[in-house]
Symmetry: C2
Subunit: 275 residues, 2 copies
Amino acid sequence: MTRKELVKNIRAKQSFLCVGLDTDIKKLPEHLRHRDDAITEFNRQIIDATAPYCVAYKPNLAFYESLGVKGWQALEDTLRYIREHHPDQFIIADAKRGDIGNTSKLYARSFFEHLDVDAITVAPYMGEDSVTPFLGYEGKWVILLALTSNKGSHDFQLIEDRDGRRLFEQVILTSQRWAGPEEMMYVVGATQGRAFEDIRRVAPESFLLVPGVGAQGGSLEEVCRYGMIADCGLLVNSSRGIIYASSGEDYAEAAGREARKLAEEMASHLATYSR
Amino acid sequence: MTRKELVKNIRAKQSFLCVGLDTDIKKLPEHLRHRDDAITEFNRQIIDATAPYCVAYKPNLAFYESLGVKGWQALEDTLRYIREHHPDQFIIADAKRGDIGNTSKLYARSFFEHLDVDAITVAPYMGEDSVTPFLGYEGKWVILLALTSNKGSHDFQLIEDRDGRRLFEQVILTSQRWAGPEEMMYVVGATQGRAFEDIRRVAPESFLLVPGVGAQGGSLEEVCRYGMIADCGLLVNSSRGIIYASSGEDYAEAAGREARKLAEEMASHLATYSR
């Protein structure tokens, strides 16, 4: 999906919500657990209920890999379902991959050709030749970790070099030499608050994928105030707050309700800040 | 596997060779390609031929993931084969994972409980809470990326902070507060040559996993001269140079021959440098 199409969808739905499909088999509603396709069925219901209020889905691969062959099957079935029934959704494989060139090339083939997702999250530690193999696929995106939402983000991402530039700023500055804002986004945690001002100084035009609203405690209002740009430039992710809104048979309905709430808040921030 | 057991195996075999099972379906010998279990069969033959000369196997997950469900099945079958037929081998899942705490916990469960490997490679960018969920499993290891073998390692890993400490040194120093040399190793590329001296200054006792000998051009002699310690402290990986030594029906025999050559060289370096 191109940036233009993504922005068109955001404008049409007045939402920049990404729903995180972090589907944990141990947290599925009782009545689904006996099913062979429990995870896929759970996802299908969540997707149908939330699709009117979001523009993207982001399965985190750890949840699928942890189930081995069966989990991988559930991932493929879920992705196919989105493609067939909700083709306007942007799909992000949250994989945080990154390896030497010939291996990253394989990952790119796997995610962009075989699974046909729109974007993959990539860890920057190994540098240019671990990232560039993901580039050059038309309408496909790399989403590079910059300033993450977790506590450990302070361990290395904030280290300053001799000129006072922090590692996450170096990652953003350097990686913009590899790809422009039409095919590279950055992960910036919602918990980072005013750091969004610093991010916008080094990445004024890039889309940011923002996890950490909800269970992790980030503020949507702050993210928008400091991070939103003219064409929005944000995809804000919520996982647990939506998909586990209820643990009963009404889980999909409850997920839809939470997604709608977030979308309504987003519409008002779009009116205020995307100018 | 504990450090003591690993070192015992190295002494017994006079080898610290790790064979990288980077099995690419496109590079399989002609006569195997029609088989449904082509990858597993290729691996089985390679393993049987090389096991006398190595102490570890390292499948890089990209190669299996790129085939989806089928690849994941081949990975599980390969790991089971090693466990059943060569139980003294140390198994490294080269996954380069790393995510927020609750997700890393899932990866840990997946790799240490479900797949039952001895070690997993982890990317350090997200810091402490992305790494610690992998710790505390008895006999299991985290292998943290420090100074990798690829060209892109220069982009971020060499950035110096205000005190002149490079990022890879910070990663090693900081992570030693999370775990000792009985459950954490570091990835250092063979192509880094004398940087092994610097590594040994900050990680005098840690085992190092060293890719980059062979196809990538690193020197085994240099790695040993600057990196070997009393109990060896090295696992040197070769992938393509061994598993694709021949593309004909004699591929396993050729792989065994290459592994034996490396092991002989290793035995002589052990005699010289592990004192």
